[in-house]
Amino acid sequence: MEPDQLKNWLSLLLTIAWLLPLGGFALEIFAGFWSTRLKKTAAYIAVGCIGAGFVCSLTALCSWGMHTGYWAEHDYLTKFFQETPLGGDHAPADGHAADGHHGSEHDAHHDEHSAHGAEHGAHGHEHDESKYPTVFAGRYYQLAEFGSLQLEIGYYIDSLTLVMFTMVTLIATCIHVFAIGYMSDELTEDYVDHFVHVGEGHLHRPGRFYRFFAFLSLFSFSMLGLVIAGNVFMVFIFWELVGICSYLLIGFYTERKSASTAANKAFIVNRVGDFGFLIGLMILWTSFGTFAFSEPSAEKAAENPGLFQMLRDDHGQMTVEIADDGSHQVVLTGPEGTHKTIPYYLLVAAGIGIFCGCVGKSAQFPLQTWLPDAMEGPTPVSALVHSATMVAAGVYLVGRFYPMFTPEVLVTIAYIGAITLFMAATIAVVATDIKRVLAYSTISQLGYMMLSLGVGGWVAGLLHLITHAFFKSLMFLCSGSVIHGCHHEQEMPKMGGLRKKMPITAYTMLIGVIAITGLAIPGTYFGFQFAMSGYHSKDAIVATSLAYWGLNDQHVLLFILPLAGAGITAFYMFRLWFYTFAGEPRDQHIHDHAHESPAVMWVPLVILSFFAIFCAYDGEQGPLWGLLVHSEPAGMDHGFDPAAPGQIAVPGHHHVHEKMSGDATVHDVAGRYALAVAIAGAILAYLFYGARLLNPADVRRQVAGLHEFLVEKWRFDELYDAMFVKPVHVISGWIAALDRVVIDGFLHGTSKAAVDVSTWDRRFDEQVIDGLVNWVGDRTFRVGRSLRFVQTGRLRQYVMFIAGGLFGVLMLVYILTL
């Protein structure tokens, strides 16, 4: 296929995968009002749409690999794809399933591969080994155009997009299937919600099975739109849409006050982050005049370069000048090679602004408080939205937008990630609700990803995103299975010993736990490395942070915190497993009624646990790593030297593989430390909760203050309540009062004054002017009245008057003329 054909083919497939769930949503939400309340039709439509989406995504990934020669170049799956016609047999075609084809000889290939990293990462046509660009971009339609400013709905497809698409659709398919079982008690006209008390009893309502699947489909659409987005504004659009889907799903049990409050909290806290996002967008829009990431075609890029192309050259370097006034200025390459400069601090501000959005979406410190509350949603939602996909969107955006971040922004990201991962891990240690433990674990793992991206481990962070998505969705589904089996009991202190009752759940969960804690057997045996996906990704993260510390002495915390976090993670994850599945049951009643979930629920567990083990197979030599490296930003291979004004260095791949002590590279050293603390954490958990040799209550008593502090989640909710929520209500009260009292008061005062003036005016009119007029009239009347006596009506008298009058007049004339 020619590049153009491939582009059309990929965009067609991904567009279908993207839009199918939207169609599904429309069908389900309307079908729901007709007749399917008691049938599973909606679920089948949803599963069909997302499943077909998965097939499309996978086909796209495979086509891309085959046609760009990626598979051949990296020796993965060569034979398999050469024998398979395009779009043919998809059934066994999972990109990661056939990892076994890959031999260990690839180790030798690795160094060379690293050296080529720059080409892999370079944008657009610079990819000199292949006629295919690393990125395919195009537009669906235009939103608006103002002179030189254009906004459009477009797509941006590179290997990261393809991997994300495949991952999201695969996990979503599994979770949709799982939800058929989990939500089946909604298939009724009379659902009893035991969490809502109305009057004397519980709330009865019709089931809402179809609505759940409609919302899930809408979410899938939004999430895929976010991933495929061709520009950062489109990311923002779908960012908000996944937010609203999250709102709808958290608040699925609309009757529960706690659920609707949690939904509001999730959306509003996200909006706080989006406020920063919006500011970042404003800065970019005003400084760069475009939102497009980058334009792969050279001719078009000359006219309308994307953000990355304006800021960085082909080697990923940006040009910083020092202006006359001593401030740092970034040089941007505009259309037709024109140059302009913007202040450096603006670029930093834009980066931090965009990152604020990611902080909100990925529940990072200080906006992490919404995610634990979001567990009010049904468990499949927690698995899909609040662990595997949506919350990872923040990490995805940081990865996608990486070239726009200056080292100063990156170090901010790293610190936020480090603080988050540590804080959330500590809270997870004391949480007793099984879903909340997982929620804090999610926050903590997202912190790892952020940290990794912040310290320059672009691939490591995104690899962790993918691996985490698999094992965390697995664990959430397992917890869902437990909750389902225990009749909606979520408190771990009431569980225990469930291993025997629900073995599949227990052991798939154990796989997830081992994957997240990163336990592994060091070394390679029989051509295999006995390590699960989490080991590889977490290893890579800790290694990068060690390399970062090596380059930047003062940032030691960025290595210590993730290392400590690894130990705590192992502790609380094993604590969860032992608490729930091991030992003797703590609540016999619950234990007696517990049962293994039906196949529709455990089959997805098995599929996910397969990926939790194998998806990052072979770590840095494996296919997933290689795929991600392919879309790594330019220059990441060599890292970035300290540059003005922050003087912060960013490590590249070779820094991670430098020799550190003896033969051991940085990566090896970090791996050993991480493994050691993880094993220590796991053993401690075993002692407390597995063997029950130590009593956690004793420890709790000794550090009662700390324990309470952790149970209260570091008191962030109280803090925010006091700092933001209450003041907002107070201010809004004041403002409403301002309207009522001041503005309306002024108006009423004015109108009162006007009425007063008119009252005086009326009095003046009535008393002075009317009085005068009346007086004149009255006088006239009286005179006339007094004259009426002359009018006797007697003719003869009148004649006398006439004669007399005439005489008088004549006499007068006579006298006067004398």
Partner: protein, 101 residues
Amino acid sequence: MPELNFCILIGAVLFVSGVVCMATKRNAIGVLMGVELVLNAANLNFVAFARYTALGLDGQILSLFVIVLAAAEAAVALAIALNFYNNHLTIDVDRADDLHG
């Protein structure tokens, strides 16, 4: 001009007689007669001035008007008197005080 003075004197006598007649008669017909006397006194003066001064024919023409007017007035006045009689069964003008103020 003794003739003129003589005429004016006769006119004055006639006028005063007419006025006295109007003022003293209670009978409406008598009052009417007084009116005629007053009018004719005026006529006499008109004619006299026309005859004996340089005023020309105006006086004579005006007196012709007055004669016509007097005839009309007499007709109307008699009609009023008749009507009055029909309503009050008398023509005593002292009884007719409907127009008093």
